[in-house]
């Protein structure tokens, strides 16, 4: 049955009793997951009425059972917290969007996404969504850029937290944050507001910042951390060498890197 659901060109008839049984069971699982993370929101929104999932034909299906407004939900409504309701709407809309995309995925994509991490799964579904629908160019380019940035930085050791840096350098987390604010460390602010640090900037054998990097950071203080990261990790002359500015710094060729930084993104021959 699962295989059948995954066939993109073979629409499943919701009236098929066998399918309906599986589908109802899946929806109950979705509802259970939602309740696990958002018990009050689910009640507040009367899941039975609001949780609408479309099958591949675009027909709206419901959980089949309207959930009565409970005491918790009443309290939640009484609070009248706008953000609370918005979060619930976001969750439900997300479920609807994910359900729609999963319904269109070919079997090999389903298998691949099941094996991937949560962020990769979401990126994979987002990409599938963009391929299916006309979409704003900026959204498409941003998604592509985010995916590439993540891959580039993962290949160079990934990102570490403020805590990791503080333990590594033997200073407080507050000191780490101040250094990041001053631009003496390469740091990105994540969506949650925390700082993350590309790991490649640390000389882990000697528990210090990579020698020579400070000089570059001073020269490039106006650069965005993402662009500085790209500059360091992308081969500057791939026709003749796999060297990146980072490998040059690791070899001690800091002046050469400063020269490259001066002409980075400049139009030249």
């Amino acid at each position: 049955m699962i295989e059948e659901m995954n066939q993109p060109d073979k629409r499943v008839d919701q009236r098929d009793p066998e399918f309906q049984e599986d589908f109802d069971r899946a929806l109950k699982q979705v509802e259970a997951v939602l309740r696990l993370y958002y018990p009050e929101e689910v009640d507040a929104l009367k899941v039975g009425e609001t949780l609408k999932v479309r099958n591949p034909d675009g027909k709206i299906l419901t959980t089949g059972e309207e959930v009565r407004r409970g005491a918790k939900a009443k309290r939640a409504r009484a609070k009248g917290v706008k953000a609370f309701r918005a979060r619930a709407e976001l969750v439900l809309r997300g479920v609807e969007a994910i359900s729609r995309e999963v319904g269109h995925l070919p079997p090999d994509s389903v298998d691949r996404l099941l094996r991937s991490s949560d962020p990769r799964l979401l990126v994979g579904l987002a990409r599938a969504s963009l391929e299916d629908t006309p979409i704003d160019r900026m959204e498409r380019m941003t998604l592509r850029g985010a995916e590439r940035f993540q891959k580039l930085i993962e290949n160079a050791g990934g990102l570490v937290s403020s805590r990791w840096v503080s333990e590594f350098l033997g200073v407080s987390e507050e000191a780490v944050r101040k250094r990041a604010q001053r631009g003496s460390l390469i740091a990105r602010r994540t969506a949650s507001g925390d700082l993350s640090f590309p790991r490649f900037q640390f000389d882990e054998g000697n528990a210090r910042l990579l020698p020579g990097l400070s000089k570059l950071l001073t020269e490039t203080e106006s650069w965005e951390p993402e662009e500085l990261t790209r500059f360091l990790l992308v081969r500057h002359e791939p026709a003749s060498s796999d060297d990146t500015p980072l490998t040059l710094i690791q070899r001690g060729e800091v002046d050469r890197v400063l020269e490259l930084a001066q002409v980075y993104m400049q139009q030249r021959a």
Binding site: R137, M138, R140, M141, T142, L143, R144, G145, A146, E147, R148, F149, K151, L152, N155, W223, E224, E226, E227, R230, L233, V234, R235, E237, P238, A239, S240, S241, D243, E259, L260, Q262, V263, M265, Q266, Q267, R268, A269
Partner: protein
């Protein structure tokens, strides 16, 4: 076959082209500067003459060429994960239009059959990191063009071969300039995506 210029390489024996007045070129340049007309003397640049003088202003025949020579350099050789830019940095760069007010005569390396001049496109791949500057032949040809009183060198972008570029020497050419927005504008994002499959972050 790249080679050094010789005494027999005269105006009559080399490919020379006159670019008509009011021809428009494009240049990507930082918006923080007052002007995009910048003559670089950096030995890191291919057509800087030996000794660094005169300086050279690099421009392209189209916005696509200007992007190929700046933001999207080496695009054909990059891995997919290397092909993106920070949107905030694109916002700092402008697409400038540079109009040559007078006709200029230049060494033209875009002509067909460069071989008949005992030259070919490999001169555009002239790069050796072990050298300083890292070019063996190009600076010598730039110096030779200056000696012949040419105003610059017309060449094909090595990053996007069908785009024409101009290295204009700082020899007093009258240039009108205007800016056509920053690179985060829709028209340039369209080029970045359609021509270069670029991403932004």
């Amino acid at each position: 076959m790249a080679r050094f210029p010789e005494d027999t390489d005269t105006l009559e024996s080399l490919p020379v082209t006159t670019i008509e007045s009011n021809t428009c070129f494009y240049r990507v340049n930082g918006m923080q500067y007052n002007s995009a007309i910048y003559f670089s003397a950096s030995p890191q640049n291919r057509w800087t003459p030996l000794g660094g003088s005169p300086g050279v202003c690099y421009m392209a025949g189209s916005p696509v060429g200007a992007l190929a020579e700046s933001v999207c350099r080496n695009v054909a050789r990059l891995d997919e994960s290397e092909m993106f830019s920070s949107l905030a940095e694109l916002k700092k760069l402008g697409m400038f239009e540079l109009v040559l007010r007078n006709p200029v005569t230049v060494l033209d390396l875009t002509v067909a059959h460069l071989g008949r001049y005992r030259l070919d496109a490999t001169i555009l791949g002239d790069y050796d990191e072990s050298l300083s500057p890292p070019y063996k032949f190009s600076p010598a040809w730039a110096s030779h063009a200056v000696d012949l009183k040419l105003a610059g060198i017309l060449y094909r972008s090595r990053h996007k071969i069908d785009e024409t570029c101009l290295g204009l020497f700082d020899v007093g050419t009258d240039i009108f300039e205007g800016v056509h927005g920053t690179l985060d504008d829709d028209q340039y994002l369209e080029i970045l995506e359609d021509e270069f499959m670029w991403g932004v972050i």
